[in-house]
Amino acid sequence: MTAPRGWVRQIAGLIRRIAGLLGSVSLTFLGLTCVTFVIGRVIPIDPVIAIVGEKATRSTYERVFKELNLDRPIPEQYWIYLKKILHGEFGTSLMTAHPVLSDLLRVFPATLELSVSALIVGVCFGIPLGVVAATHKGRWPDQIVRFGSLLGYSMPVFWLGLVGLLIFYAKLGWVEGPGRMDVSFDDIVPTVTGMITVDSLLAGEDEVFWNAMSHLVLPASILGYLSLAYVARMTRSFMLSQLRQEYVLATLAKGLSPFRVVWIHALGNVWVQLVTVIALTFGSLLEGAVLTETVFAWPGLGLYMKNSLFAADLNAVIGGTMLIGVVYIVLNMLSDVIYPLVDPRARTRK
């Protein structure tokens, strides 16, 4: 019997990888739904009162109690819930009276716009700052970067947001205040992506774009500062270990400029690790968005999740948690795709 041809092996490998991916994704989902569902059922909040209100009559209360299947054991409730989710039914949100799925599709672009901008801020400033700190280890640029990132780490984003608003919006007037754009620009731009900066460019509405940018820059910078702090510290420590390697000494001895050695050769080798850090940072930005969105009245996923938690709106909470879970999975897959681009070894690895 002859060995299978190369392309057969490749296809088999591909199928295996897809199956593995699907397996891990579905396991992750199962875990997510299970944990959120059980937490939702064991907390001492009456989900029926959350729906019918304090003033409801006993008969209404009991009807809803039955409708929610609360009279059945928890494993059975979970099974019923799981079946619904598999049919794409995330239920209706108590707060908005809309299907959770349509709510999520509406609020997510706002968060995406905010966190992508924050990530750009974090990466564009965090990486160079980390590199500078590493090359100046122990001297003042290093101290400043380390102190600055420690601040970013330890200061509550809620407080930072309020102070930012007070200084840049209320006192200096450099940026626009809370909200995604001025009320006078409401309903001008048709919704395509849900991200106002993108939609306004698509519609050719310059004025709306600049207004939206002016609203975006402060929350994005505040949130970006959080990721900057993390990215800069990680870059610094990755770079320090690279700069100790012998090849650095060799390239310097060969006569390359220090600039080239640091920014091309050493940083080039750090990218692989940085891709993972950036992907994780993006995930944590979604969590940081909860407080930022509250301070900046930014109608995104974070504000939605906060409200639904306070309203004991379990469908919305679970739906939102699942969405964040999906984002994490997508990010992981993305970083898998990006590895070969930044690491030649990953390209040739069998």
């Binding site: 707060m95 007037g173 009245a297 109608p299 004991a312």
Partner: protein, 531 residues
Amino acid sequence: MLNRRTFMAASGTTALTSLLAQHEAQAATPKDTIVIASQIDDIITLDPGEEYEVSGQILVSNIYDRLVRYEAEDLTKLVGAMAQSWEVAKDNKTFTFKLRAGQKFESGAAVTAEDVAWSLQRVVLMDKNPAFLFNQLGWKKDNVKDLVKAVDASTLQFKIIEDFSPVMVLNLMATTAGSVVEKKVALANEKNGDMGNDWLKTHSATSGAYKLVSWKANESVTLEANPAFHFPPKTKRVIVRHVPEPATQRLLLEKGDVDMAWTLQADQLKALATAKDVKVETFAYSGTWYTNLNLGDERLKNPKVREALRYLVDYDGMVNSFLKGAFIVNQTFLPKGFPSYIDYKPYKLDVAKAKALLTEAGYPNGFEIKLQCKNASPLTEIAQSMQQTMAMGGIKVNIVTGDAKQVIGDLRGRRHQMTLISWTPDYLDPHTNAGVFALNDDDADDKPKPLAWRDHYFDPTSNAMTMAAVKETDPKKRDVLYAELIKRITDQGPYILMFQPLTPVASRKNVNGYKPGIVEDTYFFRTITKS
């Protein structure tokens, strides 16, 4: 080391910042628009046949008109709104309304009595939260079409089954549940026989002061004035923005990006008191803040113990310190500003009297008891103050705080001893509160009634007095009956009735004319002006 590239990056950032600064739009809101910062995440629908939340009520009452209502011009008098005049038959059971001529819906169609009849029937047929208001009249799904009818294009007639004072019936018609929607438009958007409910959640079909332009959940609501309304609104547009964080509301207001801020807290209000372009006004609000005393507990069943506890609360001390400007003392179940309200305040902190009463009741050394409340300010502060003053009388209070749904769950299950909580009325008639604070005609466990039942307060005399008052047709006699009932519940009921909240409203100094009544239903936008 500042190299070429970091320098370029830095200068790029500066350029971007200054570019943004150049594009900074004019801070002030448009002249013909009032922008209000508030918390509107409680809105789940703007269909008047369904909404029952605070923010929804405010908006719906500004969007839709109804047969009769308390108008902004005189909040103490019930007058015709869509109705030009009305008649009540001698038996107090048949009500006939003549509609005002020339009223139009936002579609341009004329308002007919059929629209009114259909709108009232719709509330009962859809059977959503507000349906209970009309169910009280004896209107049920199977009879409402016969009881509520259009006699001709401009005459509406309805009959009620229960014995009720006409004052009470008209007060029910004055609630947002009595709002009139355009039948044709609602039915054109009907889905699966929902009488247009799904569509009306986010759209309007109104003849009232404003039409709904948009509601974006957790973001904003935009209303546009109807210039043809018989009280033309003074500003063209009203936008209510959802700003969850009160400190952010304050910044927006000081900066002039909003004209009014509605949900500020004590510390922001204090800071705004000296602000240059901002004023703060307070208006009475209709809530009742009180403590439930569960008569299922042997000690609390003793009226002397309840009386002693009422003497162990420092009402004045609280409203003069941490509740200052936010609450007034009110020891009755009716909020000040309600029809039939009386000013009755027999209790103040009196430790000696309380001790004497406790000794008479057989508890000379006091006892230990649990006080539950929601974990939110100022409830926890009030609870702490009560803990301190009750300790002076020998009562050791253990405060247990929890989530609202948890606290209410215990109340509904009658598992509490004492619970500090608040209540808001459903409509502007004394029966709305009498019916819950005084009435409990069956104390069985499987017969849940609101507040009196929760505390095992079963008093045939209070029940009889409540029913006599709601049926009394002579308004003067009705006031007398309610005055007696109020005193009875304050002195004997299962409560320590304590406070009534105030609503603070902060607005820019160029914004005038906003004078809200004590219920959300009377928060009129149409009188607001901006110079």
